[in-house]
């Protein structure tokens, strides 16, 4: 009787539930199934137990991709958020036209397609006549082949990624800054607090929830880094990862296994390993936050 009463409600939820099940639950379940099978997408899948997981974890490319990723995260997340925070403070200090101008200017790279961003930076990094090397030349510094020197490739990518993502984080932090009551700053000023002290004791604590979001989001995005290094290193299944794999990242490695080597089972296992890492990272972030709140 009760079920019949709620039938219209269930009917309203049904389209979403059907779409959710078809395009979200089913692919996850089928991916999980295939992660235990040797499967090339066409022939019948053969159960192989944990062999795909073992094959991924024991491969040289996985080790390389993960070590690149760890270094990339360790630099990109704190540096990217610091840059975005600096930009947010800068834009917040302007009013009217200039505020809008800087907000738009810094946000512009966010809306650029990755292809364009990578193309622009490939030109900028070009040896000899790229803009970056031209600037180095003005100071009599030697030309650097940023996208071929294994010592500079990762940092070249980090600069592009920070350029691309800083605007997004800036807008979020800026919204957080707007929410901080101005009278707190006035009271601090009356008490003789310097600008730095105001940031240290008012801005950062008041922005804590926003910073938590930005840091968590930054981690998750960094774990999934794919398009810019893919495009910077040749954007093809035969040339990705760059010189000596210095720009090889897990998602690229996974794509290569799926469509380059046609090992869908192994790629599915890779996907679940990455998912597990993302879950662990996110849980660690929430755990740290809870611990801090308890203190």
């Amino acid at each position: 009787m009760n079920a019949r009463k709620h039938l219209p409600h269930y009917a309203m939820v049904l389209p979403f539930a059907a779409l959710f099940a078809t395009f979200f639950l089913y692919p996850i379940a089928s991916g999980f199934y295939y992660s235990f099978h040797s499967w090339n997408g066409a022939n019948p899948a053969v159960y192989v137990g944990l062999a795909n997981y073992q094959s991924v974890v024991s491969s040289r490319d996985f080790t390389r991709a993960m070590s690149n990723l760890m270094l990339y995260i360790a630099i990109t997340v704190p540096l990217g958020i610091s840059v975005a925070f600096g930009l947010a403070l800068l834009v917040d200090s302007f009013r009217g036209f200039w505020s809008n101008f800087f907000r738009s200017a810094f946000f512009l790279p966010v809306i650029l397609p990755a292809f364009l961003a990578a193309t622009i930076w490939r030109w900028m990094y070009a040896p000899n006549f790229g803009l970056v090397n031209m600037i180095l030349g003005w100071f009599d510094l030697p030309s650097v082949n940023f996208l071929n020197d294994t010592g500079t490739m990762l940092y070249a990518l980090i600069a592009v990624d920070i350029w691309v993502s800083a605007g997004f984080n800036m807008v979020i932090l800026l919204a957080g800054l707007k929410g901080i009551p101005r009278d707190l700053y006035e009271a601090a000023r009356l008490d003789g607090a310097s600008k730095l002290q105001q940031i240290r004791y008012i801005t950062i604590p008041m922005l804590a929830p926003v910073l938590f979001f930005v840091v968590t989001y930054g981690f998750i995005s960094a774990l999934q880094v794919f398009d810019v290094p893919w495009l910077l290193t040749g954007s093809s299944f035969t040339a990705y990862g760059g010189r000596r794999g210095a720009l090889l990242f897990p998602v690229m490695d996974m794509m290569g296994r799926a469509f380059g080597a046609v090992r869908f089972g192994e790629a599915a296992a890779y996907g679940f390993i990455l998912t597990l890492i993302i879950i662990l990272f996110t849980a660690a972030m929430f755990g740290l936050r809870a611990l801090r709140a308890r203190k």
Binding site: N148, F237, V262
Partner: protein
């Protein structure tokens, strides 16, 4: 209207209605994106129109795809049962496509064709499509043999006589050193992509010992040739531009008279030709020198036309034979000045005298296949990355030539054993 005429009208209408869906046969035709734009697209549309006129009720829908989209789309299409009916791709991905069931075995249809048709195709190209006597997985389409583009201004500034191209690797290396001494770059960095490593191997190594033995899971590379390969990278390291052969930066260096040699397929010619008009670039193209006089290096490969298994296979085969047939390949060659796998078209006097084709036909004769044998096994990802990594390691002086060769062969065999 009498009853009889009314019945006749009804019968005619019914037969039309019944015939309609049967006759309308739509073929999905996937090509590389550069075949689906500009003049190339216009010519493709001409072929399609001609074929449709000769086969009423058949409609061909052409779609251009990027290299990776083409492969991933065909692999995903095979998995989901929505393969295009007829499509292009590169020989190098043939084994993956066979593995997923994207390519029909065309042996019987090929054998049913008149001898005259079969004789049109380049024998080596056709052999590449046929991994076993009873298997044929493709028809050769466009292709390339690498040639060496030379910037004559750079060479003249380095005091090099440009009238006689270097005949051997040693002569070529001497010229590279002179170019570097004149403050310019000799070559792109040949260690960056698999194809340029293969290209360098074809210059200094034994071309019969290149590729993979899929039965034994071993590389065919031998220590002697591989040592020469490593030594070539060590020798070229201080002379190169640090850019990949495929980078726009490499073309820019060539156009701005900073780079002497660019060993690559003929597809860069339109860019260089335009630069010769715009900025007076002085360049030519010659055969890639070989290890010894009379031999030459460089790699070759083909784009292929494949047909998917399925209900449209017969008509798709007919379309494939139409577009790869001499008359169409002639028109292609004239339009693009590009080599293709139809030997009859290539030897047509009007086409054979086109400079780029003349040189390409010659180059293909000497060049090594990029990833032989085709349609037998897929080169695993590690094979390609090991090749470029160890080559880079040798160029970075992490290994001597002998150590690099040993390391490369050992790592390649480990990769294949997995």
């Amino acid at each position: 209207m009498t009853m009889r005429s009314r019945l006749a009208q009804l019968a005619a209408t019914a037969s039309l209605l019944a015939a309609g869906p049967v006759a309308a046969q739509e073929l999905q035709y996937w090509v590389y994106s550069d075949f689906a734009q500009g003049d190339a697209l216009k010519l493709q549309q001409e072929f399609i129109k001609e074929f449709e006129t000769a086969h009423p009720g058949v409609k061909i829908v052409i779609s251009g795809k990027g290299d990776d989209d083409l492969t991933s789309g065909q692999i995903a299409g095979a998995a989901s049962g929505s393969l295009p009916d007829v499509f292009m791709n590169g020989l190098a991905v043939g084994a993956q496509l066979v593995e997923v069931g994207a390519l029909a075995n065309l042996h019987d249809q090929w054998m049913a064709m008149p001898q005259e048709f079969r004789d049109q195709f380049d024998k080596d190209a056709m052999a590449s499509c046929s991994p076993a006597p009873d298997k044929i997985y493709c028809l050769p389409y466009t292709g390339f043999g690498e040639i060496m583009f030379r910037n004559l201004t750079v060479l003249e500034e380095a005091g090099i006589d440009t009238t006689t191209p270097p005949a051997t690797w040693d002569e070529w290396l001497e010229q590279m050193k002179k170019v570097k001494a004149a403050g310019k770059f000799a070559m792109p960095d040949q260690t960056q992509v698999f194809n340029s490593v293969a290209s360098t191997y074809a210059v200094v190594g034994d071309k019969a010992k290149w590729g993979v033995d899929f039965d034994k899971h071993q590389t065919l590379m031998d220590p002697e040739s591989t040592t020469k390969l490593m030594q070539a990278f060590i020798d070229m390291a201080p002379l190169n531009s640090g850019t990949s052969r495929n980078d726009q930066a490499t073309k820019d260096l060539f156009i701005t008279n900073q780079l002497a040699f660019h060993v690559v397929g003929p597809w860069v010619d339109p860019t260089y030709k335009q630069a010769s008009v715009d900025s007076g670039l002085k360049y030519d193209f010659v055969l890639v020198p070989g290890g010894k006089a009379g031999d030459h290096g460089g790699i070759k490969s083909y784009e292929i036309v494949g047909v998917a298994p399925g209900p449209n296979q017969d008509i798709a085969w007919q379309f494939a034979t139409y577009i790869t047939e001499k008359q169409q390949m002639l028109r292609w060659a004239k339009l693009l000045s590009r080599y293709n796998g139809n030997a009859a078209a290539m030897s047509d006097p009007e086409v054979a005298k086109l400079p780029l084709i003349e040189k390409s036909v010659e180059a293909v004769h000497y060049a090594a296949d990029v990833m032989p044998p085709y349609f037998v096994g897929a080169y695993p990802n590690c094979y390609r990355s090991i090749m470029t990594d160890v080559s880079s390691g040798a160029a970075d002086k992490e290994y001597t030539a002998e150590e690099g060769a040993k390391e490369l062969i050992s790592q390649l065999n480990d990769c294949l054993a997995q």
